[in-house]
Amino acid sequence: MTDTLASQGEGAALAPVPLDGAFLTEKSKLFWLAFWTGLLTVLTLGIYRFWARTRLRRYIWSAIDAGGDSFEYTGMGLEKFLGFLIALVVLAVYLGLLQVGLSFIGFNLWGAVTLEPSGPRDVLIQVGATYVTGLAVLPLIFYAQYRSRRYMLSRTRWRGLRFGLDAAAWGYVWRALLYFALSLVTLGLLIPLSTFRLEKYMTDRMWYGDAVFEQQGQWWGLYPAMKHLLIALGVLVLGGAVGYFGLARGLGAVILIAGSIWFLCGLVYYQVESFKYLSAHKVLDGTVRFTSNASSHRVIGIFVLGIILIAILTFVLSVVLGVLIGIVFASGGSVMNGDGAGIGLFAGAGVAVALAAVLGYIAFLVLIGALVTVFISAPILGHYIDTLRVENAQPLEQINQRAGDRMADADGFADALDIGGAF
């Protein structure tokens, strides 16, 4: 390992050098960062969340190592806050008008339906009236997704060079809407088309320094990744049929439950396998290639283990907290039994106990959030990074810096609309 480092250092080695990803965190450090910033966020009524997310990203990025050099996140809390304010002005006006207008239309449509829906048309209108608001926000969500990816990349550096994404959010919006509709109409059969084309749209506009990425491959190459989803659907249909036609209600229910679990695992499988396919067909600067050996078993394993661990930890903690509160109450009761002066004291203690209970509850929620970060989100990200490899890293040395991307609104839209994953 040190040999490769030294030879890369002066750009002397000529043989193709693979470069492995590694995710290096200390669980306790990450936990205290997540817990403390989460607590500050609650105590500041959410205002600190911009700085919280920035600090968490800074930590996570610096834990990502490729070939001995770590990533760097250069975003700033203040710019995120400003971006949020800008997005808020736009969203307040847009969403306010939209909601009033749509519920007006909705009431008119809804009113057109007879009291008890008498046919499929009535049901359709009713459902449509309910979901039309969500659909109207969808373009904004896609817009925010693209913008937040662009912000994130422009604030990411490796070996001192910035990443970047072209300013092309609206092109992404209409494509995403189109593929979303196609996936919906075909009952999910065209999800690979949607996944691939949207990833290609982003990848082809993504830069590392002055070198551009390219997404190669074919959209139907993602169908093998759908394998377990399709099997799970088959199981679900079978379970439904057994329960409906057959006499074995119980057996049908068991099959349905099994099918649902299979379906969830199938979703993870699709995520992992499509990531592997898409990574294998990404090219940077025409020559640098990538391989991912991520395993869906590991991801599911991390998830299940994480949930069990968090459940045990929170259970133990709530028992401890319960005992503590019980002790406080008991001591309060003994004060009550004293003379008259004790009553005033008890009232004070009551307020303190109530306050402590509220604070304890909030701290508890923040704690669970931090545990999810430490035992689920971060390890899953870590697994993806640990199994990622840059096949021939040599040409990377020829890449030069790119100009910064200012983006006054940062990822404010994504923040206001609550999208954007774990980190």
């Binding site: 966020t41 969403l95 306010g96 339906v113 040395e397």
Partner: protein, 371 residues
Amino acid sequence: MGFTWVDARYFDGLSAQRRQVFVSLDVESQRLTIHDHLGADLDIWPLETLRQLRDDAGAGMVLCSGAVDPGEARVILANARAIAAIKAACPNLTKATVTPRTWGKIMAWVGASTAAVALMVFVIVPALAGQLAVFIPPEREARVGSAVLRQIERLLSDKDAGDWRCTNPKGQMALEQMAQALQQGQEFPYAIQVGVVDHKMINAFALPGGHIIVMRGLIEMAETPEQLAAVMAHELGHVAQKDPIEQALRAAGTAGLLSLVLGDATGGTVLALVGERLITAKNSRDVEARADDFALAQLAKAGVSPEALAEFFELLLQEMGDPAFDMGWISSHPPSVARAVHARAAVQTAQNYNKSVSSEEWQAIQQICAK
């Protein structure tokens, strides 16, 4: 305590090449010198400009000159003693510099976003809701009302469905008669439908499409039929002003705004609910006051003393205390005391007032939930 010729990694911020360099810290001249592998000076950084990458997961130290983002070149130190020396010698390692211009920008956008949200919540959405409410055809509105009614039915009935409504025919007839008398001189686009719900809550409300729902608890609390009539007149006021459908539209417009502001912070949903209540409270207090005025006018037309409304509020005060007393600006209704005083002011001493319904009819209303 300085150091000389310590191994470090260097990225010049221009290319992706990694260089092995040596750095020397000179505390006397307040600078960090970066030498390339041959010993020539690559760069000289004044100590006051040095910044460190914070929240770093690595064991080393990432340094740059100037603020973290625009500063292009990076030095990465692994040597623990060198790191300690730099920490001791550099005053501004974790200092974030915010220019006055940035502060100005932040202030401007804080103002703009506050103004935009306030304008939407207090002016545009209410105005729009009022305008649009007129355009919803009455029969559509009535159907929306029926749908809401069914929702309420589901919410309230802890017994079998259908049991929740009080339908004693004599009581119902008397109630309708009472409502009829209060509609004098008013044209409603739909038939007013009054109903009683078998629930102990002391409340009454109007739904879109002319539905007025009175809860059993309120009838039990009323001491005279006139007090019940006063409440019904108030609810008729809501119907006349199309308040229910307007408020539904308005609520839709302001619903998401607060959760936008607060984000997905833990407990943010609860805060959003509280905040929303604050926002809508002011609007709805005006609406309530107008419905009170309508009620006073209709009571007078029906020959019922407006004092009944005052009595009702005083009763409410006795019975439940005034939740609005301490926090008038939070409550969706004006304080009961003020409403009682306002109602009493409408009483004309010279006039003779009648009973709202006969005592037999009042008895029938009181028994409307009897099975």
